[in-house]
Symmetry: C2
Subunit: 432 residues, 2 copies
C-alpha cells in the first residue's frame, strides 16, 4: 500500500502558529512538549497506553508533498515562506514515551517531544488523535479482559465506529488482551487474528433453520459456531446437534437473559452429549455484563459497541503542552499556562513506577531533572522512541500485548475493581 501523508491530519492553527513563529524568529527555539492526561476517565483505576506504534508511523508519514502544498496554497492557509519550510519538513528531534501497553496514571508523560518549536508543534494534532483514541479503547478493553478472568474476549465492534477507527480499535483491544477481532483489515494490517461464522441473516435466508445450519456445517465444518437465537433457542440447540453432531464447536447466544440462557443451553448440550460444545455470548456486553456472567457456563465473550466507544469514555482527554523552551539567552525555561482550572507542571520530566520489594506498584513518581535513587524494584517508564529523527522503538504488537499483561499484573488489587474510584496508585511529583 502507498503510505498516505498524515500531514493534513492537523489543526489549521498549528500552521498559522508556525507562520507567525517563523516570522518572529522564535520558530527554532528548542522546546519540550509533553503529552499527558490531567486525570483518568471518570472513576477508572488505571489507563492503558496504546497507539505508540501507530503514532510513530504517523510521524514518519508526516510529509508535505506536492498535493498537500498545492492544497494549502490554493486555500491560502499560510504564506509562501511557510510553504517552503513545510516542503522540507522532517522531524529531526527526539521523542521519549511510555512503552505501548503500559499502564498510566494522571500526569504520566505518555510522550515527551524535544525539538524546535516548529517541528514539535506540528505533530500535536495527529499524536493526540491517535493516542486519545487508541488509549481509550485499550483502557476499556483491559477492564473487559480483567473481568473475563481468562475466558477469551473477541472484538466485534467495527460496525459501531468509524470504518478506520474500527481497524485501530481492533489493534488496541488486542494489546489489552482480546484474543481476536471480526475486522479483516486489522488482520491484514496488524496481524490480529480474525474470526467469524454467521449472522441471523444467514438463517433467515434459508427456508428452515435446519437447512441453514446444514449449509454452514457443510461449508465451515463441525467445529463452527452456530447462532441459535434466531427463532427458538431450545429448538435451535436441538437442531444444531442433530445437524452437526455432538462434536459441534460452539453455539452463540446474541439476545435475552444471557446468564439464564447460558445455563439452560449448557444443560441441554450436556444432555445431548455435546459436552465439548462451547457457548459464546454476544449482545451489548460491557465489563459489567462480563463480570456478571462470571458465574455462568460461558466460554467466550464477543464485545462490540461498548468496546469501540471506550465503555463510556470514547476519549481519554490527553493534551499536548509546551512545558519548557529555550529563552532568548539560550537557557531552558520551564513554562506553564496559568489558568486555575487547567494546571500543568512545567519542565522536562522523568517517570518511574515505584514498586514494593514484592513487585507491586505503589506510585507513579514524576519529577524534573535527575530521577531519585532506584532501589532496584522501581521501573523507569520513559523509553526512547525517536532519536535525532530516527525511529528507535521497534516493539511489535505482540510486545505491546506482553507489556500490558506484565504492567497490569503488577498493579495492586484495587486496580481490578469494577466500581468507580480513585486511581489505584497515586501520582507523586518529586522535588516540588
Amino acid at each position: 500500500m502507498q503510505p498516505v501523508s498524515t500531514a493534513l491530519l492537523t489543526d489549521h492553527y498549528e500552521l498559522t502558529m508556525l507562520q507567525a513563529a517563523l516570522q518572529s524568529g522564535t520558530a527554532h527555539r528548542r522546546c519540550v512538549f509533553e503529552l499527558f492526561g490531567r486525570r483518568l476517565p471518570d472513576g477508572r483505576r488505571y489507563g492503558v497506553v496504546a497507539g505508540i506504534g501507530r503514532a510513530l508511523d504517523a510521524v514518519t508519514a508526516f510529509r508535505f508533498g506536492d498535493a498537500e502544498l498545492a492544497d494549502l496554497r490554493s486555500r491560502s492557509v499560510v504564506d509562501d515562506a511557510t510553504l517552503a519550510w513545510l516542503a522540507d519538513y522532517r522531524f529531526s528531534g527526539d521523542i521519549w514515551g511510555y512503552a505501548e501497553g503500559e499502564a498510566y496514571f494522571p500526569g504520566s508523560p505518555l510522550m515527551v517531544v524535544e525539538s524546535s518549536f516548529a517541528e514539535g508543534v506540528l505533530l500535536e494534532t495527529v499524536l493526540l488523535s491517535i493516542l486519545n483514541h487508541d488509549s481509550a479503547i485499550a483502557s476499556a478493553a483491559s477492564r473487559m479482559t480483567a473481568a473475563a478472568d481468562g475466558r477469551p474476549c473477541i472484538e466485534m465492534g467495527s460496525r459501531r465506529t468509524q470504518e478506520w477507527s474500527a481497524v485501530a480499535a481492533a489493534r488496541a483491544a488486542y494489546i489489552a488482551g482480546f484474543v481476536a477481532t471480526s475486522n479483516l483489515e486489522a488482520g491484514r494490517r496488524w496481524g490480529v487474528p480474525t474470526t467469524g461464522t454467521a449472522a441471523h441473516a444467514f438463517t433467515l435466508l434459508h427456508d428452515t433453520e435446519e437447512q441453514a445450519f446444514a449449509a454452514q456445517v457443510a461449508a465451515l465444518g463441525t467445529n463452527t459456531t452456530l447462532l441459535v437465537d434466531t427463532y427458538d433457542v431450545t429448538k435451535a440447540v436441538e437442531t444444531a446437534i442433530k445437524v452437526a453432531g455432538p462434536g459441534l464447536g460452539a453455539v452463540r447466544l446474541d439476545s435475552g437473559d444471557l446468564l439464564v440462557q447460558a445455563r439452560e443451553v449448557r444443560a441441554q448440550l450436556d444432555s445431548l452429549g455435546a459436552t465439548g460444545t462451547k457457548i459464546v455470548v454476544t449482545s451489548d456486553l460491557d465489563e459489567f455484563a462480563i463480570a456478571a456472567l462470571a458465574a455462568g457456563p460461558v466460554d467466550s465473550y464477543g464485545v462490540g459497541t461498548s468496546l469501540v466507544t471506550g465503555s463510556g469514555s470514547p476519549t481519554v482527554g490527553l493534551v499536548y503542552k509546551l512545558v519548557a523552551h529555550e529563552a532568548a539567552d539560550g537557557s531552558m525555561l520551564s513554562v506553564a499556562k496559568a489558568s486555575k482550572d487547567k494546571k500543568s507542571v512545567g519542565g522536562r520530566k522523568y517517570a518511574m513506577r515505584r514498586r514494593s520489594a514484592s513487585g507491586v506498584a505503589q506510585a507513579e513518581v514524576l519529577g524534573i531533572g535527575e530521577p531519585p535513587a532506584n532501589d532496584g524494584d522501581d521501573r523507569e517508564l520513559l523509553v526512547p522512541l525517536i532519536t535525532a529523527g530516527e525511529r528507535v522503538y521497534d516493539a511489535t504488537l505482540q510486545d505491546a500485548r506482553e507489556r500490558h499483561a506484565v504492567s497490569r499484573a503488577e498493579l495492586p488489587p484495587t486496580a481490578m475493581q469494577m466500581s468507580r474510584g480513585e486511581p489505584c496508585i497515586p501520582t507523586i511529583y518529586e522535588g516540588q
Copy 2:
C-alpha cells in the same frame, strides 16, 4: 490520491456466510436489507442522517484486488471458490436511502439495499460503520447549532477522536450547520472551510505575551483572533488592543466561567473602543453549555470533544437487517428475527414524512408496499442512491447542508428542546 479498497473494512463473518451460501446455492437469492435504528440515542428528539455520500464512495471502492485476495488466501479466511467470486465483486443491485442531512426517527429506513444475498451481505459492516459514526456526529452537531441559534459554531475536536474519524466528523458537523473546522484534511478532501490562529503554546514560547501578540498580528493581520487566557485575561485584553488596535478581529477565551468572563471582556473591549472585536469561546462546550451562553455577549463557539464523541452518544445504534428474500418458489418473502428484545418489521418499506398543511412534520409513516395517498403536504423520503450498480445520487456536501436546514426547520418546536424526551414526531407503521 489512490482510492483505497474498502473491501476489508468488513467483518470476517460476512465472508464465511458468503462461502456457505455459495455452497448451498442460496447466495444468489434476491434479498432486501434495511439499515435503520430501533431507537434514537437516549432522550434525543430527532436524528440526522450523515455519511450517505461517504457510504456510496465506499461501495464504489469495495473491490477485492490482488492484495486483498492474497491476504484472505494466506490467512485461510475463505476457500478458493469464494475468492474467485470475490475477485469479480461489483455491486450490481439497487440502493435507496434518505437524502444526506435529512432528519430521521426510530424505524426510519436510512438505506434499503436490494440485491442478491451475496452482494448485499458483504456491504453490511462498512455501511454501518460510516452511517453509525457520521450520523452520531451530525445528530449531536445539529443540537449544538440549534442551541447556538444563529451564532457560528466551529468544529475543533480532531485531537479527541481517531485521526480519520476527525475528518469524517468535520464533514458531518458541516452538514449539521457548523460553519468551519480546524481539520485541514477535511478542507482538502471535502471543501469544508478551515480556520485557526494560535494556541497557548505560542504565547508561552515568547518572552512576553506582548511579544507573542505582536508576532501573531504581524504575521496574520489585525483581523486575527488573540488567545487571552494564558496568564491574566484583563491584562491580556489590554495588551491585545494595545498591540492590534481597536480593529482587532477577535479574542478567544478557553477556560474559566465563560459567561462571566465574556461579559467582563465585552465591557473592557467596548471601553477600549474595540466595539467590533468579537469574542470566541472554546472550552469543553456541548449543546447545554452553548444554550447557557445564549445570554452572554459571545460571537462564536468552538466545539471539540463533545462534538466528536457525539455528546454522550458516539454511535447511534443503526443495524442492517435482512427483511425480505426470494423463497425457493421465486416469490418474495418477508422475514424477521423472532427474539423478543430485538423486533424487526419485515419487508421492503416506503417512508414518508407526514406534514400539516402549514408544513410542520407530524409523523414518520412507514409501511410495506404502496404508500398511502399524499395530500400534497407529505414528503417521500427514500431517494434512489444506486440503480443497477450505478451511482445515481450526486448531492454535494452543500446540498446535504441545505437539506438539513430545511428538514430541521419543518420539525415541530419540541424538536429543539434540550431536555431528554420522546422523539418529536411518532413513527407510524401503516397497514399492520
